[in-house]
C-alpha cells in the first residue's frame, strides 16, 4: 500500500497522508474488508484511489497521524527527487495514454494485481478489465513505437 501511494504521490508527505487515511477507513469499516489477501488488497486499493482523488482535489486535510507518518517517511523513505526520476521513454508513453488505460497497466505491473482483482478495485466486470487491458497494451505499444522505441515486445499471457 505504501508503494502504491509513493508511486503516485511523488511527495512522501502526500503518500503518508494517503496511507494513513486509507487504513483509517479500513479500520472504521473493518467488517466490510474482505477476508484473505487476494480480495483484501484490491479493496484497500479501491479506498486508496478515492483518497488519492480527494487529495488531488485538495479536499484532504492532513491528520496528526499522517503528519507524523510523513515526517518518519521523509526520514526513512526515498527522497522526492528519487521518486520523480523517470522511467524514460516508457514513462513518457504511459503519460500519453488515457488515464483509464494508464491505471489498468499500472495496477497490473506496479501493484501486481490480476484482472479479477483490478475489476474489484475499479468496480467494473472482469471481462471488461481483460479486454481493456489488451487494448491498453496495444495502445502503449503504439505510443512506444511513436516515441521511437521499436524493439520486440513479448506477448503477455493475461
Amino acid at each position: 500500500m505504501l508503494g502504491y501511494a509513493l508511486r503516485r504521490c511523488r511527495e512522501p508527505a502526500d503518500a503518508a497522508d494517503v496511507l494513513a487515511e486509507t487504513f483509517l477507513v479500513a479500520w472504521r469499516r473493518v467488517n466490510d474488508v474482505p477476508a484473505g489477501e487476494h480480495d483484501e488488497r484490491p479493496w484497500l486499493l479501491g479506498v486508496a484511489r478515492h483518497v488519492l482523488a480527494n487529495q488531488r482535489r485538495g479536499a484532504a486535510r492532513r491528520s496528526r497521524l499522517s503528519e507524523r507518518l510523513g515526517q518518519e517517511l521523509a526520514a526513512v523513505g526515498p527522497a522526492t527527487d528519487e521518486l520523480a526520476a523517470g522511467g524514460g521513454v516508457v514513462a513518457d508513453a504511459l503519460a500519453r495514454l488515457d488515464p483509464d488505460d494508464r491505471e489498468l497497466l499500472q495496477l497490473t505491473s506496479w501493484e501486481g494485481l490480476d484482472p479479477a482483482q483490478i475489476a474489484s478495485a475499479l468496480g467494473v466486470p472482469g471481462a471488461t478489465v481483460r479486454s481493456r487491458l489488451h487494448r491498453a497494451r496495444a495502445r502503449l505499444r503504439a505510443e512506444l513505437a511513436a516515441l521511437g522505441m521499436t524493439h520486440q515486445v513479448t506477448e503477455e499471457i493475461r
Binding site: 508503494g3 472504521r28 516508457v90 479479477a116 515486445v153
Partner: protein, 368 residues
C-alpha cells in the same frame, strides 16, 4: 528474451516494492501506523464512492431504478404494437432497453459506429469512424470506475486549452502531452449523472486543432432508444439474440458433460462478438482445464486425456479464428492448450503453472 509490455511498465515505476523493502526503518513505520490507527474510534463513516456492492440501498436509488424499469416497460409495450415486419429491428430485449434508457445516447453527426464492444448502465465506450479518423466516445456513471474529469484535471500531462458547450453542458478541451509533436486533444464533460470524453482514437490521425474538436463536439446529438440501438454495428450482439449466437458459437466447441451452456445465454450487458466469444470459448476452455487439473491430481488418466484432446481442437474453434485478428484472447487459450499438452506451465514474464495462472488469464469463474 524480449520484455513484455507489463515488464516495461514495471521498470518505469518510480520505486518498486523490492526497493521499498530494502529501505531501513519501514517496519517501525508500519508498527507506528497500526498502533496509532487502532487507537482511533471505529465509528461509522460513509462508504467511499465507487465501492459497490456493500452500500445499503438508498431510497433515491430505488426510485431511479424503478423509473428506469417503468420507462423500459413503456418502450417495450410501445414496440410490441409494431407489426412483425416493422418490429423485427425494434424488438429490443429488456436488458438493452434498460441500458439504453439510462446512459447518454449520443451519436456523432453521420459518423458510423465501428466498435461498441461492451456497455452497461455503469460505463461504455464506442468508436465512431469519420473518413480515416476514429473518434472514441467513453462514458462512466459518476462515482463508478476511473473518474474522467478528475483523471484529466489531475493529470500533469494534460492542460485545458479551450472551453465549450456540449448539448448544453460545459465541456473542457484538454491537450494531452502539450509541447510534443504527437499530442492529442480530448473533450470532457458531465451530463445526466455521467462523465463523458470524446477524443481521437487509435490508429488514425490525431486531433490537434481545438477548433476542430469543438466543431465535432457540436455535431453530437442525443437520440432515442431505437435510433441509438439501431446504430450499433452488426457485430454487436443484443441480449435478444444472445441465446442463438451462443448456441452457434458452441456448435464446434466440445464441452464436458456437466457444462452449463444456459448460464452463458443470459446477461445484462451488451457485447460485441469478440467479447461474447471470449466469454463462451473461455468458459469451455476453463471447464476443460479444470477437468485436466482435477484429473491430474486424482490420477484419472482418461479424464486428463479427454481434456487434452478437447483443448487440442481449440485452434479450429471458429469463434477463436474469427476473434484472432482483433485481439489476443485466442492466443491465450492456445497457450494453455499447448501447456496442458506439454510441460503444464506457461511463460508470462516468469514460469507459471497452468493451475495457478489460468483463473486470471482466462477469467475462469467470472460471469457476465
Amino acid at each position: 528474451m524480449s520484455p513484455t509490455i507489463d515488464e516495461l511498465v514495471a521498470q518505469a515505476a518510480p520505486i518498486s516494492d523490492c526497493e521499498l523493502r530494502a529501505l531501513d526503518g519501514l517496519e517501525c513505520l508500519a508498527d507506528e501506523l497500526s498502533a496509532a490507527i487502532m487507537r482511533e474510534p471505529r465509528e461509522a463513516v460513509p462508504s467511499p464512492r465507487g465501492l459497490r456492492g456493500r452500500r445499503p440501498r438508498r431510497p433515491g436509488r430505488s426510485v431511479a431504478a424503478l423509473a428506469i424499469a417503468v420507462c423500459a416497460a413503456i418502450v417495450l409495450a410501445a414496440t410490441s404494437f409494431l407489426g412483425a415486419d416493422q418490429g423485427a429491428q425494434r424488438a429490443w430485449a429488456a436488458e438493452a432497453v434498460r441500458v439504453a434508457n439510462a446512459v447518454p445516447r449520443l451519436l456523432l453527426g453521420d459518423s458510423e459506429i465501428q466498435r461498441a464492444d461492451q456497455f452497461s448502465v455503469d460505463f461504455g465506450e464506442m468508436t465512431f469512424v469519420d473518413g480515416e479518423r476514429r473518434l472514441d466516445l467513453k462514458w462512466n456513471r459518476v462515482g463508478i470506475g476511473a473518474a474522467l474529469t478528475e483523471g484529466r484535471r489531475s493529470d500533469r500531462e494534460s492542460r485545458v486549452v479551450a472551453r465549450t458547450q456540449v448539448l448544453g453542458h460545459s465541456a473542457l478541451i484538454y491537450r494531452v502531452g502539450p509541447g510534443r509533436a504527437d499530442d492529442y486533444l480530448a473533450g470532457v464533460w458531465r451530463q445526466g449523472g455521467y462523465e463523458l470524453e470524446l477524443r481521437s482514437g487509435w490508429p488514425g490521425p490525431q486531433l490537434r486543432d481545438s477548433g476542430e474538436l469543438v466543431a465535432l463536439l457540436r455535431t453530437l446529438r442525443a437520440v432515442g432508444v431505437d435510433e441509438w440501438l439501431s446504430a450499433m454495428p452488426a457485430n454487436v450482439v443484443l441480449p435478444v439474440d444472445r441465446e442463438k449466437v451462443v448456441r452457434a458459437m458452441l456448435a464446434d466447441i466440445p464441452v464436458p458433460a456437466a457444462f452449463d451452456a444456459a448460464r452463458l445465454a443470459t446477461g445484462d450487458s451488451v457485447r460485441d462478438r469478440y467479447q461474447l466469444g471470449a466469454l463462451v470459448a473461455g468458459a469451455a476452455a476453463c471447464a476443460w482445464i479444470e477437468q485436466w487439473v482435477s484429473a491430474r491430481s486424482s490420477g484419472d488418466a482418461a479424464a486428463e486425456e479427454q481434456a487434452e484432446g478437447a483443448m487440442g481442437t481449440s485452434r479450429n474453434w471458429k469463434i477463436l479464428r474469427e476473434m484472432h485478428p482483433e485481439g489476443a484472447y485466442p492466443l491465450i487459450i492456445w497457450k494453455y492448450a499447448d501447456a496442458i499438452a506439454g510441460s503444464g506451465t506457461v511463460m508470462g514474464g516468469k514460469i507459471l503453472t497452468v493451475e495457478e495462472s489460468v483463473g486470471p488469464a482466462l477469467g475462469c469463474g467470472e460471469g457476465d
